[in-house]
């Protein structure tokens, strides 16, 4: 286990939350708005009244234990395969925002052009382990079929792993149909998962038809899923964090139980986007001490179940790339990484509580994520790093700049910033760039340097034909 491990709950706390969740599952149950899921759970022996499913605690514990401790997601380019679990952390770009905020703070509806730009940045950005999912909502495309364009773009223009569509069983089926030919067919991907999809529960204590439909379809193909709850403490859950966690935990356990019932061994990630309600306005607030605590305790809960974890992100309530955006995002990345979260959706780009993406913020968050990844790696202590010989050699009053030990070790020991300004005052004052202005330069350069990774022509044609056919069906 990593040396850097933030803990905010005791083992006894975890057990109490666990027991409360099981009690909720058994006594209150979960409202499951998808008939096939109700059927499957009924067949498995759960008590059902209408759409309310009352879970047997022993069954939940048994099923949750069948989920893998960790797994690998396979990418088009094997160097981008990602291991999800253990001490590893995978960074994933922001997801689902309907607006972009440009440098200077002007907000506008996001477009397909933004989508493609962010996709290229995600592909180029070293800190991003996946190219992501719905990077921003392309408001200028038909809302019924835009998920198809979005999926195709990921497959075509990046070789990193991607996130699938949770737009019902149909969205899941389309995702699998598009990916299977790229990865050697459906049997091949059943062995080696190639996509991970965000499945959200509906707080409090509901599973809706669309997400649950997608869940069952992905489970059938053994593709990975993040099963996540978003409790807003104070509105969609109790104001007390322990109670909010109990609700979150019940929902996630229900989702995982369903996935493992459909297909035991399906790779799942225990997910949370839980946060608090601003009690003055009712707005969600996603970056604060309480949210950081929920994030860290989610990591502890997931570890208790032996399942990889998703929580946190480069999160902020700020509307522009300013001090608030910086300190909030740093807190909301520091907490999950140090607590042992394995999959961090929304790592880069988010402004205004998930409503907006910003290119500049994307760059700033990638920098924060890089710094924290380095922090998590901790300090290697061994003969080489203790450096006794070179200290002896330099002796009192000397310096280490001309030592081979320094030349050899600094590159791995010290992370080099991409964004942070470390110049002298003189150097900085020539242009007096703010973080936002500097970040704008970085992303523009990155975008200019993007290289098309290419994709087999015949495959492109096949995928496009599939998409065209589906679009005709859907818009008919």
């Amino acid at each position: 286990m990593s040396k850097v491990t933030l803990k905010v709950l005791t083992d006894e706390d975890i057990r109490q939350i666990h027991n409360t969740s099981l009690q909720l599952l058994q006594e209150v149950g979960i409202e499951v708005e998808y008939e096939p899921a109700v059927e499957v759970l009924k067949e498995a022996g759960m008590r059902v009244e209408g759409r309310r499913v009352f879970f047997d605690p022993a069954y939940v514990e048994k099923k949750v234990a069948e989920a893998p401790h960790d797994f690998t997601l396979y990418a088009r380019d094997p160097k981008h395969n990602v291991h999800i679990g253990g001490d590893d952390v995978a960074y994933v770009p922001g997801y689902g925002a309907p607006f972009v905020i440009d440098a200077g703070g002007n907000r506008r509806p996001s477009t397909w052009e933004d989508y493609m730009n962010l996709l290229k940045l995600a592909h180029m950005c070293e800190e991003m382990d996946l190219s992501g999912g719905m990077l921003v909502e392309p408001n200028d495309l038909d809302d019924r079929t835009r998920y198809l364009d979005a999926l195709y773009a990921h497959i075509r223009y990046s070789t990193k792993c991607l996130m699938g569509s949770s737009y019902g069983a149909d969205g899941a089926r389309d995702t699998v149909e598009l990916l299977a030919p790229v990865f050697g067919g459906k049997d091949a991907i059943k062995e080696k998962p190639v996509v991970i999809t965000l499945i959200n529960t509906i707080s409090p204590l509901k599973l809706d038809a669309r997400q649950t439909g997608a869940l069952m379809e992905y489970a059938k193909w053994k593709q990975a899923m993040v099963i996540a709850s978003l409790v807003m403490a104070g509105s969609t859950g109790p104001a007390t964090l322990a109670g909010a966690l109990a609700v979150q935990n019940a929902e996630v356990l229900a989702g995982i139980t369903l996935a493992q019932t459909v297909n035991p061994g399906t790779p799942v990630v225990y997910g949370s986007a839980s946060s608090i309600t601003d009690m003055r306005t009712g707005s969600v607030s996603i970056a604060n001490a309480e949210a950081a605590l929920l994030t860290a305790s989610t990591a502890q809960l997931a570890r208790f179940y032996g399942i990889p974890c998703r929580a946190g992100g480069g999160l902020t309530d700020s509307k522009t790339v300013d001090g608030q955006a910086g300190y909030e995002s740093a807190l909301m990345l520091m907490s999950p990484v140090t607590a042992g979260v394995n999959f961090i959706l929304h790592t880069a780009g988010i402004l205004q509580y998930w409503l907006c993406m910003s290119y500049e913020k994307f760059i700033m968050d990638a920098e924060i994520a890089g710094v924290i990844r380095r922090f998590k790696r901790s300090i290697d202590v061994n003969e080489n790093t203790l450096a006794l010989d070179v200290i002896k050699k330099v002796g009192p009053g000397g310096h280490f700049l001309t030592q081979i030990h320094t030349k050899r070790n600094h590159k791995t020991e010290m992370r080099k910033p991409v964004l942070s300004d470390r110049q002298s005052y003189e150097g900085w004052s020539k242009e007096k760039l703010t973080t936002e202005q500097q970040a704008a330069r970085v992303w523009k350069k990155m975008l200019a340097e993007y290289e098309d990774p290419g994709l087999d022509e015949a495959l492109q044609k096949h995928l496009q034909e599939y998409i065209e056919a589906r679009k005709r069906e859907i818009t008919k």
Binding site: P98, P109, E137, D143, R144, T281, G282
Partner: protein
């Protein structure tokens, strides 16, 4: 004094006490118009003031609005009689509110509904995942002046346009003010679909209604 007690019970958000007191109003044949105007409404007005001053939080306002509604439900029949006899002032206006079809995000809608209630409107909340027909039928049924539609998804914003079009098709467009809101919506979108107004926060939503009905 029962009027003072009614006011306090609303401010406290004590629904049961409000119900108890309103029952007493009926039993003891106290003037219901008095009970509403100088009791319940005074309470909600005080809440509005405390909220604006930053001394109250959302649960205070929403529980106050709930308590007020519970009271009005009990006094309703007597009140209608009084109204028919011309003894009571008409309310500020009737608003039908809901979240559009395909969308289950309802927190924002609930808050807006509570604020409207707190501002003295008669609010008919039809819930979430509601189509244009549901909004329209309710508005027709209760004789509303305003229809308020909330949407939180870019994929359901189209339902707000659908609502405007639906009213147009039935020749009902001029009968109602249609206002819209929710995370991804903007003034630009409201203009584009021909809605009568848009607001970004619950407070602005109330000001918007005041303006539209002025």
């Amino acid at each position: 004094m029962i009027l003072e007690e009614l006011k306090e019970a609303v401010i406290e958000g004590d629904r049961e006490l409000v119900e108890e007191l309103c029952q007493k109003v009926l039993d003891e044949k106290i003037n219901p118009v008095e009970a509403v105007e100088n009791g319940l409404i005074k309470g909600i007005e005080e809440i509005g003031r405390l909220w604006t001053d930053g001394e109250m939080f959302l649960p205070d306002v929403m529980m106050g609005a709930d308590a007020l509604k519970a009271g009005l439900d009990i006094l309703g029949p007597e009140l209608s009689k009084a109204k028919a006899a011309g003894d009571a002032k008409e309310g500020k206006g009737k608003i039908v509110i809901g979240t559009v079809k395909g969308d289950i995000h309802d927190i924002g809608k609930n808050i807006v509904a509570a604020m409207m209630t707190a501002a003295g409107y008669d609010v008919y909340d039809i819930g979430f995942d509601q189509d244009a027909a549901a909004f329209t039928n309710k508005a027709e049924e209760v004789g509303a002046q305003i229809i308020a539609a909330s949407a939180l998804l870019t994929t359901t914003m189209g339902e707000q346009k659908e609502l405007v079009d639906y009213l147009k098709e039935r020749g009902l467009r001029d009968k109602y003010k249609v206002i819209i809101g929710g995370g991804p919506t903007t003034q630009g979108w409201a203009d584009e679909i021909g809605a009568d107004g848009w607001a970004e926060t619950a407070n602005d939503a109330v000001s918007l209604c005041n303006k539209l009905l002025a």
